[in-house]
């Protein structure tokens, strides 16, 4: 290897070192620390009673109804929001693709939900559906406290997520849509394919890679849902999600041992979802380095 090549390599490592160090210190190390803590009975309110208990914390979490319910709720919210986002995202993308009203206007409007603080979005929808301050009940002639009941609360949580994140999905899909060759669509049209056939037989297969990457990131993001639930129900009416359960154990109750077990389990769930997409659906994330 030439000296010049060596120098180039050294420089490359040097340039990457700060970013790599930050990533290791702030995520990898705490994650290892969490796995270590999860093996202890460790409550910050009684720090002296710290004691190695092996996998007891995992047993407590995995045998508790609260964890399984939270996992069910999180899955429900994830599936509900991501599937709607995909469909609606396609609608948004097609509207932007064909916009006659001005692409700029639509795109700018869609960036507002993306940019807005999640807490603010959650508050806005909470107030909108609130029986005293809201306008939705008056509009629909209803009189319900939406967030005081489990299923209607889920509806509001999911709809908030959809509102907040569909624009992102739409923009990604639009970028994919512009990659579909116009000639191909024209050829399909000449061959007698109607609009629906052209969409499902030509556009969709070509967009599969972009779509799957967008889906992967949105699924993982939805699985981590915290802000919206915290603001809208605070986990009441059995709407707890896994992140809320983790936060409550760690920060509210200061139970680092049990909370860390929850943290590790959430991490494993995320790994499983990512593996499912990559192995099961063949999402090509490794080559995304070359945008």
């Amino acid at each position: 290897m030439s000296a010049r090549r060596m120098a180039e390599r050294r420089l490359a490592w040097l340039l990457c070192a700060p970013a790599a160090t930050a990533m290791l210190l702030v995520t990898a190390y705490p994650m290892l620390y969490a796995s270590w803590l999860s093996l202890f009975r460790y409550d910050l309110r009684f720090p002296d009673e710290r004691q190695l208990v092996g996998l007891d914390n995992y047993v407590s979490v995995l045998t508790s109804e609260a964890w399984w319910q939270a996992l069910f709720n999180t899955t429900l919210i994830t599936l509900g929001s991501v599937s709607c986002e995909l469909i609606l995202g396609f609608v948004f993308a097609l509207v932007m693709h064909r916009a006659v009203l001005g692409l700029r206007l639509v795109r700018t409007a869609l960036l507002v939900p993306y940019g807005i603080i999640t807490v603010v979005a959650a508050m806005s929808w909470r107030f909108a559906f609130d029986p005293t301050t809201g306008f939705v009940n008056a509009l629909l002639g209803l009189e319900g406290a939406w967030l005081a009941e489990r299923w209607s609360a889920f509806f509001i949580i999911i709809q908030t997520e959809i509102w907040k994140t569909t624009p992102f999905m739409g923009l990604l899909l639009l970028a994919g849509l512009t990659l579909v060759p116009v000639d191909l669509l024209r050829a399909a049209r000449v061959d007698g394919a109607n609009a629906v056939q052209r969409f499902f037989k030509v556009t969709l297969p070509l967009m599969r890679p972009v779509m799957l990457v967008a889906l992967l990131f949105r699924t993982l993001d939805a699985f981590r849902i915290f802000d919206t639930v915290f603001v809208q129900t605070r986990g009441a009416q059995s709407t707890d999600t896994v992140s809320i359960v983790g936060y409550d154990a760690l920060i509210t109750r200061l139970n680092l041992g049990l909370g860390s077990a929850v943290s590790v389990l959430i991490f494993l769930c995320v790994l499983a979802i990512a593996a499912l997409y990559v192995k099961g659906l063949g999402v090509d994330v490794a080559d995304r380095e070359a945008p």
């Binding site: 705490p30 803590l37 995320v270």
Partner: protein
């Protein structure tokens, strides 16, 4: 765009669809603005628009020392995090886009895993570590996680931009005797400025939006950011619902984002989609 010869009816339909999408995207914002301008007495009047416009909630919010502190913290922490993430991201992205070394895949893999990483999994350890290190409830205590969690975004956006730069200029500088570092600072950095700016905006939006770290790693006005302050708003008295104040505070923290989005929409869109779409 693809089909120029559309029937008038199609044009009308797509126009109507655009209008619908725009309305859907803007309704919650309009609702917050409207709530924030209602008088306290009118908050429960079932109407979308305020009967009488009043600025009492804005006055209340800016009188509240907690909110001004939170706003200051949000701006400071967001700005420093963007600066730090972009700086570190720029170094790494340069190496990835330009230099030949075996660690490229490793760095990109690490960035990818962090993009998927659940923040809730590390708030416990960070809480414990920050208390020991004296970082709990400080600016630095939030800047570090924000910087780290936005590094993937910064690295992707920047390496995408870096690839488009005419690198012959760098080679020319090298031929003229500049070191790689000099070539980077004097030739490439100015050309990369738009990409750097895009990455900074995206990082700032992330830091401005974060709630989980903000409520887990802070406890007082020293470092509590705006989203946390809004979520924990209490009315001036125990019997008063803080709805109006929350709405006014929400509008105040949303304004900068709207301005940024309006001013830089092209860049934001290209930055957001850079990592996901090849070509």
């Amino acid at each position: 765009m693809s089909e120029k010869r559309e029937k008038p009816i199609e044009r009308v339909l797509w126009g109507a669809a655009s209008l619908l999408v725009v309305t859907y995207a803007l309704i919650p914002v309009a609702w917050m603005v409207s709530l924030s301008l209602k008088r306290s007495a009118d908050l429960g009047d079932d109407r979308f628009l305020p009967r009488v416009v009043s600025f009492e909630h804005y006055e209340a919010v800016f009188r509240d020392p907690q909110f001004s502190a939170a706003l200051r913290n949000s701006i400071g922490i967001g700005a420093i995090s963007s600066l730090a993430a972009v700086l570190l991201g720029m170094f790494a992205a340069y190496a990835i886009a330009r230099l030949d070394f075996p660690g490229r895949r490793l760095i990109l893999g690490a960035a990818l895993s962090i993009a998927m990483f659940p923040p809730v999994s590390i708030i416990g350890p960070l809480f414990n570590m920050w208390r020991t290190l004296g970082l709990y409830d400080t600016w630095l205590g939030l800047i570090l996680p924000y910087m780290t969690f936005t590094l993937p975004l910064a690295i992707w956006t920047l390496s995408a931009f870096f690839r488009e730069i005419p690198w012959e200029l760098e080679r020319a500088a090298r031929v003229d005797g500049a070191t790689p570092v000099q070539a980077f600072v004097h030739v490439i950095a100015p050309l990369a400025a738009p990409g750097v700016f895009t990455a900074a905006i995206l990082v700032f939006i992330f830091a401005w939006n974060d709630f989980l770290f903000a409520i887990s790693l802070t406890s007082t006005n020293d470092a509590r950011t705006a989203p946390a302050a809004i979520a924990f708003f209490t009315g001036s008295s125990r019997f008063e619902q803080p709805t109006g104040s929350i709405a006014a505070a929400s509008v105040v923290v949303t304004l900068p984002i709207i301005v940024i989005v309006l001013a830089f929409q092209r860049r934001i869109v290209s930055g957001l989609t850079a990592g996901a779409v090849k070509g």
